[in-house]
Symmetry: C2
Subunit: 434 residues, 2 copies
């Protein structure tokens, strides 16, 4: 990794080392129009300004496409396809190399540095892509198993279809928001006494508000309607990953979900981290997922063993009083189904995916209690409180609680490929006067 030494000061331990180069959409107080950027160390490189000042003049393949960097979303850049993403990412890396072949572009160009490198703390991040459709899978095996045990007992924990297909549902795209956006506690119908014979709901604020620790993949290359994407080609249609918090109203969910699945319990907000880590940046961290002992149908059989990613994931909860704790440490590898398998299954009917579509992994949990990616699992559906600090504990989320996800690949402090953070704070429910 010697070649990744940079003339630019990138703090040790930064998620945004030269090995990463994640893409996002930013604005600043002096320039409020959202545009495309990459994150490097503690800075954003404003690609609109960089392109306008001939930053890409050495890169002929990107010349005809430079307008993508002036867009308020990454959709147009994503739609250029993975070969061009790779060219742009490598070029940006090379600009920052200690021994860059293009010193005039930025290394020795102080005035351009001042213009295009903006401290991240001065940057406002926006939703990185305009999401057409959002699909949420259920590929976190330990989560599915543990929820199954809680609700149906060990014997029937896994549904018969679980190991044969990547179970999924269509989610709500309009309420996907960027990290930092507050989440208002929703109202809904809940059953106060689910065990009663006569099931009559009450109207209430959600009392079992939860987070779900997920990864989200963005689609770059669309497939036409009617044309499935093969599992071995599917990775070429994926742009990159973000962390995703699929906020969930568990009490609303358990009453509403039969027979058509979760609806209101999931449609009030989904948070994603602002910087999209490209598939190429994740390639060195591929690992084997959870072994599937079912006889998987050919359209889901993927070549090679390493199909998921070794991403160290962490959840921190900070309460309104300032107490905080790391409540989850787990890993992105705990998936039964890989993203190429999810995409191949999604399109096997001919369903058309579009540039900017978001695919959630499903909640990612490990096997032990401290590895579980939701309060539902950690608290055994409210039965045991999770300790925070100074006597505070939680079963589900309280008003003012802030949840922060952190995700990072690698151990070399000078070459981390990280996702930064995905945060969201719970606001009290509206007074609806009902």
């Amino acid at each position: 990794m010697a070649s990744l030494k940079s003339w630019f000061s990138i703090p040790r331990g930064s998620h945004f080392s030269l090995a990463n180069i994640p893409f996002g959409v930013i604005s600043t107080s002096s320039s409020s129009t959202p545009r495309v950027a990459v994150a490097i160390g503690d800075y954003a490189l404003d690609l609109e300004a960089f392109a306008a000042n001939n930053g890409f003049s050495a890169l002929s393949t990107i010349q005809p496409h430079q307008s993508v960097f002036s867009q308020p979303s990454l959709n147009a850049f994503a739609a250029l396809g993975r070969p061009l993403h790779a060219v742009v990412r490598k070029y940006i890396q090379s600009i920052f190399f200690e021994n860059t072949p293009y010193p005039d572009v930025l290394k020795t160009n102080d005035s351009l540095q001042k213009q295009v490198l903006i401290p991240l703390k001065e940057v406002k991040s926006h939703l990185p892509l305009k999401i057409g459709d959002y699909t949420d899978f259920f590929a976190g095996y330990h989560h599915a198993y543990h929820c199954g045990v809680m609700f149906r007992g060990e014997k029937d924990a896994m549904q018969p279809n679980y190991k044969h297909l990547p179970v999924a549902y269509h989610g709500r795209a309009s309420s996907v928001v960027v990290s930092g956006t507050p989440i208002r506690r929703p109202h809904g119908q809940i059953l106060e006494n689910p065990g009663a014979e006569k099931k009559v709901p009450i109207f209430s604020q959600c009392r079992k508000l939860d987070f779900e620790l997920e990864l989200g993949a963005f689609v770059c290359t669309p497939n036409p309607r009617g044309e499935p994407v093969s599992v071995d080609h599917a990775e070429q249609n994926l742009f990159g990953l973000v962390m995703m918090n699929d906020w969930s109203a568990r009490d609303v969910q358990s009453w509403e979900y039969i027979p058509l699945g979760p609806f209101n319990s999931k449609n009030f907000g989904t948070s994603i981290s602002p910087w999209v880590v490209l598939m190429d940046a994740l390639e060195p961290f591929k690992v084997k997922g959870i072994e599937n002992d079912a006889d998987v149908l050919p359209y889901l059989k993927q070549k090679g063993d390493a199909t998921v990613y070794d991403i160290q994931l962490q959840v921190d909860l900070k309460t309104q009083t300032g107490n905080s704790a790391t409540i989850t440490k787990t890993n992105g590898r705990h998936l039964l189904w890989s993203y190429p398998q999810m995409l191949a299954h999604h399109t096997i009917t001919g369903c058309n995916l579009q540039s900017g579509d978001l695919l959630g992994s499903g909640t990612i949990s490990g096997t032990s209690p401290s590895e579980r990616g939701s309060m539902l699992e950690q608290s055994e559906n409210g039965k045991q409180a999770v300790k925070i600090a100074n006597g505070e504990d939680r079963t589900f989320l309280q008003d003012g609680d802030e949840i922060t996800f952190t995700g990072v690949c690698g151990t070399d402090d000078e070459a981390l490929v990280g996702f930064g953070h995905c945060t969201g704070k719970i606001e009290p429910a509206l007074d609806l006067g009902l």
Copy 2:
């Protein structure tokens, strides 16, 4: 209705009488850029050309907004809100009145007539709105009941939540297509022997391909995230209705849907009729829906009895060999939940709906076999064939079958408010070599 007499020749029995004025998006061979139009009799009135030729010069309120008619979708027009829709619709009606107050605009202007009135048979219809999110409800009571009887028996036919909330799931927006678009038979996982103890799926073309007769409502006015819309205000946020065919792969559905609901069984295509009938045009046809004997929570209690629409709905099936039959006659009134109730429920969590979002009603069936809005119900899940003609019959759809929905309000042949048709023909599955 004497005032609806027109100087323009509108055939008796036309769905597009002056009482209607539905909006759509068209292109023509001589002008291939999609733009906004209304349907009148056998003609489309090209509103882009009409506006460009001072057609709206007498209508000062629409002057600042005329660019909406040059858009490739109705989203911008819809977002203007219902008061402006009403103004535009009434103005267009008045232009066509026998005793129009604006004779110079079109009645006596032969050259403009030639320019802006295009025979419908020369018009290509496009998807009328760009759909952000598509939600499919399950409000057709008789459909829910009959499916419940088929799968769980009479005693447990209705799920406990059904009468308390409008059950729904998020659908797939990208594969919503305009009437006339062919639908390719999907592949998927199916269980050949669902009763077997060991459940191992096979990969197959769908063998139980079905239609679902639905209405679809488009949202016009958005609500901000975090802010529910009250049931009595909800109608103001609705643009208009279309007919909708929620094509379904029943064998895929029954295997995949536990526990998160239908996914691949519904994501390969949904057809809608091209002309959006505005809520104002439907107002005279409001009727009482199905009585709900549950104690509905206050946020779903709607003022007034007439909350759904008396729309005569019909399904015709034409086979590849040319045999055809009307297989369903039913009515839009067979809903337990109204659109305002659906919208109020959808947003009670704070879920933000956007201009162009589509809300499906769920399958609309009456009580008798010939009133059922799907083959699943008509054939009792494949157990009894439905007669077409000349010895041909169907349990589910075969390749080459064409399904046509027709919907119309009213009995006065000179003042019908109709939806036209929503058609789709089944293409054979792709050979995937699997």
